[in-house]
Every structure is written in C-alpha cells, then in structure tokens.
C-alpha cells in the first residue's frame, strides 16, 4: 500500500518511469517521526501517546497521521528495525556447522531484539503471523528466513518434522511476551526457550 519505501521502488508497474519522489522535507519529517516513535515506544510501550510522538518529532499531529495513517503502521515501521538486523544474521546461520545450534541462536537473537521496544516486536510479530500468508512484507522476510533455518534442521533430522517456522516464531515471541516484565526477564526467557528447544527435537523411537 505504501509508496514511500526508500530502498526498493517496487511499485508503479507500467512504463519504466522513476518512482514518485517525495518532497525532501516530507522525507525528513517521516524520518523524524520514526525516530520519535522509536523513543516513545521504547519508553512507554505499544500504547505510547501519538501526540507525544508529534511533540518529540517537532511536527504537527497531522503530519504523524499523514505518514502513518494508523498506529499499527507506525508499529510495523519500527518493527522493521528488528527485521533488518535479524535478516542479516540469518544468512550466516544458514551455513553454520550445526543446524540445531543455528536454530537455537536464531531464536535467542529474536528474544534479545524483542526486548528492545518493550512488547512491541512480539506483539506486532504475533499479529502479523495471525494475518496469515498475505501479511506485511517485513514479516515475510522473517518467515522465509525462519522457514529455511527450520527446514535445514529438519533435513538433518535434528528437529521434529511436524512443526513449521510459524510455530517456532510464535513460541519464541510468546516467551518474549510472557517474560517481558518479569523480575529476571532475560534469564527466565532463556530457560523457557531451553524447554521449547528440547521440545523441538525429534522423539527417538525408544524414548
């Protein structure tokens, strides 16, 4: 829907015309709003005041709405931060020696990034997973990375065949939500992830 993506001008099908340019002040305002949103969400979580975002960005509230018609759009835009770093990491993990350890590290990294903007990442992620196949492109990237990592582990016989990447992503983000505000969140999350990882191993016939 958005025509403002900077790096990948995939819109406008016919005629090799250049993608519609934004006025440079608009572009700069968008950036400012996004920065302000990052700060506000990190401080106050998913429900941060949009008027506060506008104040921090030094723009009118209308400008926030112009660039991000709904709060969800703003959340998803901030969510993209995590996707980018995780996507970069995924390439390495796909050629790592131990496919199971790679999956473990992939999930552990997700937990770490999930804490960055309070419950934002996990909430958005679960919401996007629920939307199914036609979800936001940001999510698709993560899903296909996850699918590759999970399938490699399954091919090596170290992960049970009856789960998919969506299951695994849901579980790890669920843990992030449940440990968010716990006294010793990170340690707790790591322990719970350990349980889940064991549960992902295939059941040997004799056990």
């Amino acid at each position: 829907v958005s025509t403002t993506s900077t790096s990948t001008p995939t819109g406008t099908p016919a005629s090799g015309a250049a993608p519609r340019r934004q006025r440079s002040d608009a572009q700069r305002n968008r950036e400012r709003v996004l920065d302000a949103a990052r700060a506000a969400f990190a401080e106050h979580g998913t429900g941060a005041s949009l008027e506060d975002v506008a104040r921090r960005a030094g723009v009118g509230i209308g400008t926030v709405y112009r660039h991000f018609p709904s709060r969800q759009d703003l959340l998803v835009a901030v969510f993209r931060d995590n996707v980018d770093t995780l996507h970069a990491h995924a390439a390495d993990l796909l050629v790592a020696d131990d496919p199971f350890a790679a999956l473990g590290e992939w999930l552990r990294t997700q937990l770490q990034h999930a804490a960055k903007y309070q419950a934002l990442t996990a909430t958005v992620m679960i919401g996007l997973l629920n939307e199914g196949d036609d979800a936001a492109p940001s999510c698709e990237e993560l899903r296909s990375d996850g699918a590759a990592i999970v399938r490699r582990a399954q091919a090596a016989g170290v992960v049970r065949p009856d789960v998919d990447a969506d299951d695994v992503l849901r579980l790890v983000n669920a843990i992030a939500l449940a440990t968010e505000e716990a006294p010793d969140g990170p340690a707790l999350a790591s322990r719970l992830l350990g349980v889940v990882l064991d549960g992902l191993r295939p059941r040997p016939p004799g056990c």
Copy 2:
C-alpha cells in the same frame, strides 16, 4: 486490601467481631457490575470501556469505581472465575494414575479457560506471576495447585527437575496469548502445547 471478600472473612484481626457487613443493595450492585464486566470483557477484551460496564450493570460509573478502584481489580475479580473451576479440577488430577498425563490435562484445561474472556486470563495470570510471591491470593491457589502437580510428575521421574510450576504456567499462558487471535487458535494452541510438553520430559542420558 479489599474488605469485601464474601467467603473468607480473614480481615479484622482483634476481637472476634463478625466481619463488616455490606448493605444488601451494595452487595447486589457489586454482583451486577461483575456480571456486566464478564460480558464486556468477553466481548471487547481487556480494554473494554468501564462506562459500558456501568451502563450494562444499570449503575452509575461511580459505583463501578467504588467497588473496583482500578481496572486491574475488576480484571482480577473476573479472573477468579477460572481459578475456581481449575482449583476444583486440580484435586482429581493429583490422584490420577499417570502423573504426566495429569500435568498435560491440567495445562490443556488452562488453555480452554484462557480463551473464555479473550486474552484476559492469560494477561492477568502473567502479570500476577511477575509480581512474585506476594501476589493476589487467587493466583497463589493456582500456583500451589500447579506446584503439587508438577512436583508429583518430577518425583515420578517423568518431568525434568530444573523447571517449576511458574515456568510451566508462564509457558501455557504465553501460548494462550500467542494463539488468541489466530485463524485456528485452539488447534494451534494444542499443537504448541504438545511441543512444550515434550520439552518438559527429562532428557535421557543416551539421547
């Protein structure tokens, strides 16, 4: 803090005086508000409008606040519904033949009840778990039930020794949160619980 608990008059320390009686219309209003809250939370989730609750109950908004000073108090009161039914079930499970199957059924029951008022139960539960040992008494009941069931399974050697009831409760409520709005929520939740249950089994030395 509350002096309105009906079944257990544990307040008022000195002199064996009877616990302070409420006026009967107040008692009835409290019931009405609670019923209205159940309906509202079931329909609109945790964030349901308190004015709507007052309207449904046929009382002034002030009466809602008088009986339940904060939204959290109202949430916890509704949460009690689940505690009561789960607590009754726990007694049976503690004498069931298979301790592991008993744990599984305990958790499956939690998932079912968690769906009743949308994310309410899971949200409140996780919140109470985060408060630690001095949480609401409703939660303590569930925690001690869970502890007994988990410990029995551990004593029988069918659950790994390095987890406790809080871990298990957190995991199951996390799953409830993550599958709440999914297209096929119940089936998905059941599958994810299966993974977690496998993860709770002890690792045999040879595996």
